[in-house]
Amino acid sequence: MSVVIQVENLSKYYRLGLIGGITLREDLNRWWAKARGRPDPALKIGMEDHGNRVGGELWALRDVSFEVHEGEILGIIGRNGAGKSTLLKVLSRITAPTTGHVKIKGRVGSLLEVGTGFHPELTGRENIYLNGAILGMKKAEIVRKLDEIIDFAEIAQFIDTPVKRYSSGMYVRLAFAVAAHLEPEILVIDEVLAVGDSAFQKKCLGKIQDVSSHGRTILFVSHNMGMITSLCSRGLLLDRGRLVSTGTAPEVVLSYFGRDGSAPYSADFRRGPKPIGDHLARLLEAHIEDAAGNTTGEVDIRQPFRVTMRYQLRQPTPVAPGPNFHFYDTRGEVAFISGSTEYDRCTGAEPGTYVACCEIPGQLLNSETYFIGLALTFVFPNVHVSFFERDALAVTVVDPIGETLDNLRNGYSGSIPGIVRPRLDWTIQRQS
């Protein structure tokens, strides 16, 4: 497989305080202050420190080098401010790097947003042409694919209606349909898949995989670890502008959870950049503990373990909210969702801090890594989600094969597929 993208020592820095418009007067002030050896008056004070700041400079990318091979789907992950979007912007030539360079073989199409350049007054058909051309398609190419695009978007009967009359779902479907029919050799995708209904998302994922199986290369940024592990052949982890890990997608996803002081099995959300939750409730903290009560990210398949979440109700509510946990496997498939049945949703709840704890029995899950989403939902009278933090925790279920080949595996030592591996009751009787 040949290398189609070669990134060498790529760095990009922003001068803080210069992001955003400035006037000539401010520039003269800055220049005057510098000339007298005074501090720069335009520098913002108290900006959030991502840790990649040197003086007044913010290194959004620092000495990043990697290669991408033809036909690969590369997943790029990292926390907010890690430099993912900057990397995509440099690769799609929206902004130039400060130092270093990138060599590319083939046409790059970038999807940092769907529906770029859509004009509300134009019809769906006119917007297909416009958006297609903005994304780099030739007119002849769009003409050839027009029917396919309209079909894919499922909006044939509204194609000559101005898009300002579209529902948001139709708008997104049309926008994605155009994007999905791009045929560059290299496709750069930011988190655009977080839109649309799930059936349509699946269709889009299918289309992406279709694209890559034709030898095209894809670079993909997402916060959805499940999507990364299920779609990507390789992963790349950025942290404060630096490349900290590359490898197979699941490996990189795991190292993502191991970083930044927030261990995968214990997360404190009060320290995040912004609180998680809404005016009714906030997520405070969550962790996983094993049967012995130790906070840990590795649990024995034979033993039960507990997932605990602390949240705060901020005002009295007429009905009590229901905490629920969502378990995903590394491919992003839902293993199961569990909600509490212990609360009475017909009585209100008082403000305060609550602890919800759920015990997952031993011999239920497979020996795999699971990502746990934490949610708090009001189901009555209307469904209202106060927060739903996907991939908040990760737990790896370990099957200590070496120690014991007891009744768990019946002596079988190979890998056992399946999202779960419950121990069920069997009966075997001799009939004749």
Binding site: Q6, G21, L24, R25, T95, K105, T116, G117
Partner: protein, 279 residues
């Protein structure tokens, strides 16, 4: 395997105008023109008729104010035609200049999400304004014909053959200045304010509502340093038969315009590489 097709580096070559790439995106330019034209008059009652109403009302106003109240000489041409020639020609230049001067700030949304040669946007702007100019120009010709039928002293001559060149100069000058301003506004927002009334002031500094011959001698030299002045004079001479033409001044105008356009595009291409960091 084949060679690298693209290299992304911190700085591009300074004098690389990237015209080939622009040609590659010609379909996009055409679609932008179409969008501008179609979208502009959706949900208006009069639609493209506005292209006629605007210059007509401006010309009438100028005729009343400058022709009948201020009594500024028009070198003997019917005042209405004199002002209309000025309005139509100047109108093209000023709409191109104000339109393209907002390229970066008003397209920041698109530019931040996808790459295409940024020059496609001001070029499309220039072309869609050309359509409006074409309509107004035909309208102007109708009036020229009408005045000739009524026996006014109007004498179109062989200089009309220079019309395309005059138009190219106006377009190039508007584009060059526009992209220059638009590149500088990414850093200095002050310029958006300056452009608004700057164009107004420039109109009075240019022989649009008065002929060069109406200027006293010491000022005439300075007025003719303005590269638009010869264009206005030649245009009026070609269609109305009044004004001073000089091939020397036209050459000067072409030279100044070329320099402004070149500098403008170089500046634009430089800013294009990093403007997303400052907007």
């Amino acid at each position: 395997m084949s060679e690298w097709t693209q290299t992304i580096e911190p700085r591009g070559r300074l004098f690389d105008l990237k015209l080939g790439e622009l040609w590659h995106y010609r379909d996009l330019i055409a679609l932008f023109v179409r969008r501008d034209f179609v979208a502009q008059y959706k949900q208006t009652i009069l639609g493209p008729a506005w292209h006629l109403i605007q210059p007509l009302l401006t010309t009438l106003m100028f005729t009343v104010v400058f022709g009948y109240i201020a009594r500024i000489p028009t070198d003997g041409a019917p005042p209405f035609l004199f002002y209309m020639a000025g309005t139509v020609m100047w109108g093209y230049f000023s709409t191109v200049l104000t339109g393209t001067s907002g390229t970066f700030t008003s397209n920041a949304g698109i530019f931040g999400k996808v790459y295409f040669p940024r020059l496609a946007v001001p070029l499309a702007d220039l072309l869609s304004k050309l359509i409006a100019f074409g309509i107004q120009f035909l309208f102007f010709l109708c009036f020229v014909g009408f005045f000739m039928l009524r026996g006014s002293v109007v004498s179109p001559n062989a200089w009309v053959l220079l019309t395309p060149l005059l138009l190219v100069i106006m377009a190039a000058l508007g584009l060059g200045l526009g992209v220059m301003v638009s590149s500088l506004t990414t850093r200095y927002r002050d310029l958006t304010v300056v452009v608004g009334f700057g164009v107004q002031l420039l109109m009075y500094a240019t022989p649009v509502i008065y002929p060069v011959s109406a200027l006293p001698e010491p000022y005439r030299f300075w007025a003719l340093l303005n590269p638009i002045a010869p264009v206005m004079e030649i245009f009026r001479f070609a269609y109305l038969g009044v004004g001073a033409v000089s091939l020397g001044l036209l050459t000067y105008s072409v030279a100044v315009t070329s320099v402004i356009l070149f500098v403008g595009i170089v500046l634009f291409n430089r800013v294009e590489r990093t403007f997303m960091d400052t907007v």
